[in-house]
Symmetry: C2
Subunit: 154 residues, 2 copies
């Protein structure tokens, strides 16, 4: 059962989650299925590219971010889905052996008069490399159920 | 070898590509790896959710969009990578059996004085369902090599 609700997301709160080591095999397998550009499937092509070596598809990075969010808190939360992401920035390439973690910052938390049983939470999600560099950054909105939907908002 | 370059993206041009049928097995397999929220892995939980049935993760939709773009033109193009996506909107759920296609619109095309051998192309990518409904929408920027980098810009 969910034990994290809308009310648990406090504006300004920052937390870091998880650890995920990326392999060359995984980078290539993902890319062959969804994004088979040369720099994502071939080491030599990666070296010759702006990415400087075999590098994960940017969409793979987004998927790893989502996985770390699921493991970190989303699968224990009363999440109802997401209308979208306001921006995704692919800042640094992710190479084989990189160890990734997720930093999430609560940017905004708001309820809706029309949907009093849920609230919208805006999160900045940064996928960090082992030395703390930001590999990718996104701002996502997620709907969460309220713990106590009948309560009057302050 | 690439036969599509920066110069081939004309502002306002709209093209539609491909056909991709989504299965329940694929929706669940993707979600188990990256986004195991109940509505993406379980039919009953999907029915009880805002998505109205087992539905693909929004990130799965982005990955299918990228695959259709690769098959449609990107793997034949002199693509150099992408700095990011300015917005992703998940508008309609994708259910098992949906047949998806990609509509891409060239929003902007611009060269850079500092990097005269490449140009930036902004594309609106819409993932369409079989009846033409827009399931997801995103605006992505992609770097492409110029066909004739030595030429002086008009």
């Amino acid at each position: 059962m969910a034990d994290i609700f809308f009310e648990d997301f406090i504006e300004g709160d920052v937390k870091t989650y998880g650890s995920y080591t990326v392999s060359a095999e995984e980078i290539v397998a993902f890319a062959r299925e969804f994004d088979a550009q040369p720099m994502h499937v071939d080491e030599a092509a990666g070296k010759a590219s702006l990415l400087g070596g075999l590098a994960a598809s940017g969409w793979h990075a987004c998927c790893i971010t989502q996985r770390l969010m699921c493991e970190g808190f989303l699968l224990r939360a009363a999440g109802l889905g997401s209308p979208g992401v306001s921006e995704v920035k692919w800042r640094k390439p992710i190479h084989p052996g990189d160890v990734l973690s997720l930093r999430r910052t609560v940017v905004e938390s708001r309820t809706s008069k029309s949907k009093p049983d849920m609230g919208l939470v805006t999160l900045k999600l940064e996928l960090l490399k082992q030395m703390g560099e930001v590999a990718t950054e996104q701002v996502i909105v997620i709907l969460f159920a309220r713990r106590n939907p009948g309560a009057r908002l302050a």
